[in-house]
Point group: C2
């Protein structure tokens, strides 16, 4: 087991990464009182809930199974958790355990942030995306019909337990969606990691343990270094949203659940690379390497035809990363170095939206 | 105008206290962007909303009027604010202004804490209770059918503007409810302030400006000193809840809205003083002074007959201040010195619940 410490002063916490972690007493180590509620969803519950519950020595333990899917990532589901906690008379030292992917982690983390103004929570991410993304950064929250993640809080877990064994039950499509975010870390700040990925992408797709542990650790370390310098997303941290302004537009425009988040990010990164090239930042050969690695991961690289340029622009305007309504996009200078969000000329953005993917499609 | 600085590191903020403050440009000074939404309720709106909106030079200003009353202090009302912010496409630098009493402040502060994971907010408390209580401490949140303030966040405002002129429109009953919390500060940590109150209580009830400014300033300073040492309520801060374990039971048991919060606190402080006396902490003469000052403020001192001892105990057991289900109460050692929460013998607590108020009633 490798343990990566996320250094955030009095909100620091460890990420444990390895094989066979669910069978250990890792949860126990991080409890603050005798009450524990494990929250998961109907897909993950049959696979891992019994194992987690049996391993728990807590005096008062209970579980809650949420419906699966991004369409349930809303305040109504958060209220279900509040109801369950109150029915059990759980107090301020109770611990919530989020057992599931990013959606479960986001919902449960937000419930923990708000229940009695904040109770401890532990994350057990069961998707690659959640292990490399929501493990670090403290972002929690739910969607609103008018936009993704519009309601939420910055709230840090007590610990993250990333057991790579759970990835064996992950559908192929979700594994690849996680790889999209892994590639992102290489693109925005770690050129040598990007090269490592170009060499090892097939091993990752084959779920080889050593490569998975390495990729998760390097991804989390990269994210942690960014977050440590900018916990509340006032500056540098924005680079983590590389590709996401496009991706959020795709997810909102096509309806939550049509594209997996990582798939939308894969397309968004290709669009952002194209925009960077058009603006004279990224050289054409590097832009091709970006698309090539994403394509080798069997991830989508072309935006959905249903979203024409005007619709895309309208959807991007409500993205919360856009300060005061101006359209700002994170660009690439080279592979391994992203810019802070920049206001881009509308005509260049239109060119990317009009032409990228259509030319080659 | 007096300005009290609440020192919380990078979350520090000023409380402006005085007369005629709504006519000044105090809001403007604390904005971070061009978007402002003033949220108030249907009782306060006709009195002060126009004045506040006209004084605002912000480019994009709007207002939202909530229904009045604690029964609307719930997640559904918070969602109304999210809906309004999103309809206006307000971004992360938008500022929410809470114009109203404690309920409005709690709801709007929580909405600010959660909208896009936190946007700035400014409080303009329009009741004495809100000026001396919710102005300091960063507690925000809403109720759940199973308990008060069960859902919330610690979140600090950019500034508080406590204009004593607004107290002229405050109903008598609400003024007195605010005085209950003012008395609390004397009881828990400021014996000389308690003596000052014994001398000036009639002037306060007459709403004399100098006495109001003094009482608000001393109350806020006392609360600020406690909060600065314990922002997230892990220890010392508990003394601010003196009388509140009883009060929450009264409010929940009688239904929100039957007793004003300050009225329930007034009764709760009398019960806590009685319990302190029975436990040999507070001497009987001081216990009488506690009840006497509260009574001179025409505040209730006797719990409602409808709540018998068993019902009271059941209601107290779900109060979130009780760690892991054990009954803990804040007591008085003398006037001006409260204890941290202590586990009290059940039979003594029963004696207070059985006998206090019944003997003299």
């Amino acid at each position: 087991m490798k343990t990566l410490n996320i250094d955030l002063g009095d909100r620091s916490y460890p990420i444990h990464i390895g094989s066979g972690l669910l069978g250990q007493d890792l949860i126990e180590r991080h409890l603050r009182g005798p009450q524990v509620m494990v929250v998961t969803n109907e897909v993950v519950a049959p696979l891992y809930l019994d194992q987690v519950m049996e391993g728990l020595g807590a005096e008062q333990k209970s579980s809650l199974i949420l419906p699966d899917g991004e369409q349930h990532k809303n305040l109504a589901t958060v209220e279900q958790i509040f109801d369950a906690l109150l029915r059990h008379r759980f107090g301020r030292t109770a611990t919530l355990v989020a057992l599931g992917g990013g959606v479960v982690g986001d919902i449960v983390g937000f419930a923990a942030a708000c229940y009695q103004r904040g109770i401890p929570f532990i994350q057990i991410p069961t998707t690659l995306l959640a292990q490399v993304d929501s493990s670090v950064g403290g972002k929690t929250g739910v969607n609103h019909p008018l936009g993704k993640n519009m309601i939420g809080a910055f709230y840090q877990p007590q610990a993250v337990i990333a057991d790579i064994d759970v990835l064996n039950s992950l559908p192929e499509r979700e594994l690849k969606a996680g790889i999209a975010e892994v590639i992102k870390y290489g693109l925005i700040r770690d050129e040598s990691f990007f090269r490592w990925l170009e060499e090892h992408i097939e091993s990752l797709l084959d779920r080889r343990s050593d490569e998975l542990v390495s990729a998760i650790e390097t991804s989390c370390r990269n994210k942690a270094e960014v977050v440590a310098r900018d916990e509340r997303e006032s500056g540098l941290r924005a680079i983590l949203n590389f590709g996401h302004t496009f991706a959020h537009a795709i997810e909102t425009g096509m309806g939550y659940g049509c594209y997996l988040h990582g798939e939308a990010v894969a397309i968004g990164m290709c669009q952002a690379a194209d925009l960077s090239r058009r603006l004279g930042l990224l050289n054409p050969a590097e832009a091709e390497r970006v698309v090539a690695l994403i394509e080798r991961s069997s991830l989508p690289i072309i935006p959905p035809e249903a979203l024409d340029t005007e619709r895309f622009l309208a959807l991007m305007a409500v993205d919360k990363k856009n300060v005061d309504g101006a359209l700002r996009v994170i660009l690439l200078e080279t592979i391994g170095r992203a810019t802070l969000p920049r206001t881009v000329p509308l005509e260049t953005l239109r060119a990317t939206l009009d032409e990228y993917g259509r030319e080659s499609a």
